[in-house]
């Protein structure tokens, strides 16, 4: 029992990290159908800027704020300098541009920062919390709370606010959105800023658990992408559930089967789900008018 509980808590710890990264994919995807593979770099920037601002003597909360604001600015730059000039290009080209941007950001980060692994202390200490004979670190709860808060925020944004609906409208049909008076350029800029900020928040929250270095972005992007696909690309609840589910599958496989098959098992489940439900667990059905 304690064993199962420990596996579940481990799954939640890892899953919350994936979910937080997966949530970052949501906005840009909803605005433009582009899967932004530089999302992992936003996570990395969030963590690295916090580490270096903190080392420079700033208190941790201030360092984290600077990191989130700075990364959001990087997101805006990415849109202005790389995505906007290629606006007419097909989605696949834009996705490839984000991969290039990811490599570029990584290169800049290793020059501006350094190549070492870093960490800053957990927000509420390292004393494990005991639940039914198993343990979880307080920082994992921070990550989980962060993921849920971002999810609630995104859900409210997309369903309750005019701006959020403007984002969805832009994705649906850019020309029609422009015709009803939506400034689609501004929507794109906003969605990159928000996605980058969510990524940076993820970086700030997960660094005490996973450590951070300039090169971790791609691994985050891949796992977050897998979580988002599982849950349904573009759906906030899908990103949350998909990410946590992915973590749980990995932890249970590592616990009961073998740690060697951990990643394989997760991807087999994703393949099966996508085979049965091509839109993911919570994805919207796309209907094309003929």
């Amino acid at each position: 029992m304690a064993e199962l509980m420990q596996f579940l808590l481990s799954g939640v710890t890892v899953g919350a990290v994936y979910a937080l990264v997966a949530l970052g994919f949501t906005i840009i995807y909803n605005a433009s159908d582009v899967v932004n593979f530089a999302q992992g770099e936003f996570v990395m920037l969030g963590g690295m800027i916090t580490v270096f601002a903190h080392m420079a003597g700033l208190p941790l909360p201030l360092a984290a704020l600077i990191a989130i604001a700075g990364t959001a600015a990087a997101g805006v730059l990415l849109n202005k300098l790389a995505i906007e000039p290629a606006r007419g290009a097909p989605v696949v080209s834009l996705i490839i541009i984000t991969i290039g941007a990811s490599i570029f950001i990584q290169g800049v980060a290793q020059l501006v920062f350094d190549k070492q692994l870093h960490r800053f202390p957990a927000f509420s200490g390292d004393t494990p919390i005991r639940i039914l004979g198993a343990t979880i670190l307080p920082q994992s709860l921070w990550v989980l709370a962060g993921a849920i808060a971002v999810f609630v925020g995104l859900w409210a944004f997309f369903t309750k606010t005019l701006t959020g609906r403007a984002v969805l409208a832009t994705s649906n049909n850019r020309l029609a959105a422009q015709l009803v008076g939506i400034n689609t350029n501004w929507v794109m800029t906003l969605s990159f800023a928000l996605s980058a900020a969510i990524g940076a928040l993820a970086g700030v929250l997960v660094t005490p658990i996973t450590n951070i270095s300039y090169g971790v972005g791609i691994a985050y992007a891949l796992k977050g992408f897998a979580g988002a696909m599982l849950g349904g690309m573009g759906s906030p609840i899908g990103a949350l559930v998909g990410g946590i589910l992915l973590g749980l599958i990995e932890a249970l496989t590592a616990g009961y089967l073998s740690s060697v098959y951990k990643d394989a098992a997760a991807f087999v489940v994703i393949l099966v789900v996508l085979f049965v439900m091509p839109q993911g667990l919570f994805g919207r059905k796309s209907t094309d008018r003929v």
Partner: protein, 378 residues
């Protein structure tokens, strides 16, 4: 910036013109890429040492010209750069090959061109079987395993659990450990693994914890994995000795894992980490202390074990060049093979035609983390 580069190039050309005789040596290390935290200190060390040596007048009155390439840890690039070093830059010796993969791809180039090559990578395959032109400075993975098992044996530990990274380092060391573990009468009861970027290893550690009879846990791996393992180990309150590998032998590891979680962790490391704890008559003490001071002064940070590998490679080469009295690759190779009693950061090196590594298990020190600092286990 451009004018600066142009000026620097002009200056370099001018210097090369006036210096006349100079000894060209080449290096290719992983300054960037996944092994950057190994290759970065190596590159910094080489640059620093070349500069210092030239400022002091060079070798037998001749300046050293170092050509340094960044292979990003990619064996293909390493091979290309090695070829370029041999054919275009006409170097007389090569240092480098941060990762085992990179080293293995440089070896055939060096062997064909008959240029001595000093590798900075861990695997035993590099020098076993002995290759005429290939030497290396780091301990082998197998020696790290043997050192750990020796210590376990002394503690009366005969049943252990292992949790290894699936990256190259972790996988290679795990295989080496499993090969020699029988020699020490130790049984591996649990054999778990984790991915190099995993965020939580508590399921694997729970399984090890629940395996009856496990007396200690060994974690071959480097990068972030071992620090996560160490934190999870304390999180689960596993009351067993935890052994890490030489892959994490740096001050950074204690910071990453947190001093509380790292308390009591043992690992085999080099003299470099504990320079000030060494006995005054230890031949490595002056070498290690001087290197740490110079590196600290030049870069504002403590050098890592990996920087030490580059230090030793360069020291061996300089020693050989000085004794050979000639900069012919053949003469340098013979001189390297005759290296005797050279104190480096990793060990006291004595090469023979049968041994191109030059030291044994005693060069490893068993270290234990106490109160956030390294201590020597007697």
């Amino acid at each position: 910036m451009k004018t600066l580069t142009a000026l620097a190039t002009l200056a370099a050309l001018g210097l090369a013109g006036t210096a006349g005789a100079e000894i060209r040596i080449g290096a290719t290390v992983s300054e960037t890429g996944p092994a950057a935290f190994l290759g970065d200190p190596e590159a910094k060390t080489l640059k620093m040492m070349v500069e210092k040596l030239n400022a002091a007048g060079g070798i037998n009155g001749e300046q050293i010209a170092l050509t340094l390439y960044d292979d990003g840890g990619d064996p293909n690039k390493a091979r290309t750069f090695a070829t370029r070093l041999v054919e275009d830059d006409e170097v007389v010796a090569i240092i480098g090959g941060t990762t085992t993969g990179a080293s293995m791809s440089i070896i055939p180039v060096a062997e064909d061109a008959e240029i001595p090559f000093i590798s900075l990578a861990g695997a035993i395959e590099i020098i076993d079987p002995v290759k005429e032109w290939v030497f290396k400075t780091p301990h082998t993975d197998r020696m790290a395993c043997q050192k750990i098992f020796e210590d376990m044996q002394a503690q009366g530990i005969s049943k252990i659990g292992m949790i290894s990274g699936t990256d190259g380092f972790g996988a290679s060391m795990r295989a080496q450990c499993l090969e020699v573990v029988g020699d020490y009468g130790i049984e591996v009861l649990a054999d778990e693994s984790y991915g190099p970027t995993d965020a939580d290893m508590t399921p694997q550690l729970t399984n090890i914890k629940n395996t009856a009879g496990v007396q200690a846990v060994l974690n071959p791996g480097f990068g972030q994995g071992p620090s996560v393992v160490t934190r999870n180990f304390r999180q689960l309150a596993i009351d067993l000795p935890l052994y890490q590998s030489h892959g994490v032998a740096s001050k950074g590891f204690i910071d990453l894992a947190g001093p509380e979680a790292a308390e009591g962790v043992r690992l085999p490391g080099t003299a470099l980490l504990v320079g000030d704890l060494l006995a005054d008559d230890d031949p490595q003490k002056p070498v290690v202390t001087a290197y740490v001071e110079e590196y600290q002064a030049a870069y504002g940070e403590a050098p890592s074990t990996f920087g030490g590998y580059a230090h030793d490679a360069f020291a061996i080469l300089v020693d050989a060049l000085t004794r050979a009295g000639s900069a012919e690759p053949e003469a340098i190779r013979d001189a390297i093979e005759q290296t005797a009693g050279l104190a480096g950061t990793t060990g006291v090196v004595t090469m023979t035609p049968e041994d191109h590594l030059g030291f044994d298990l005693s060069a490893f020190r068993m270290l234990e983390i106490k109160d956030g600092a390294w201590t020597l286990v007697q």
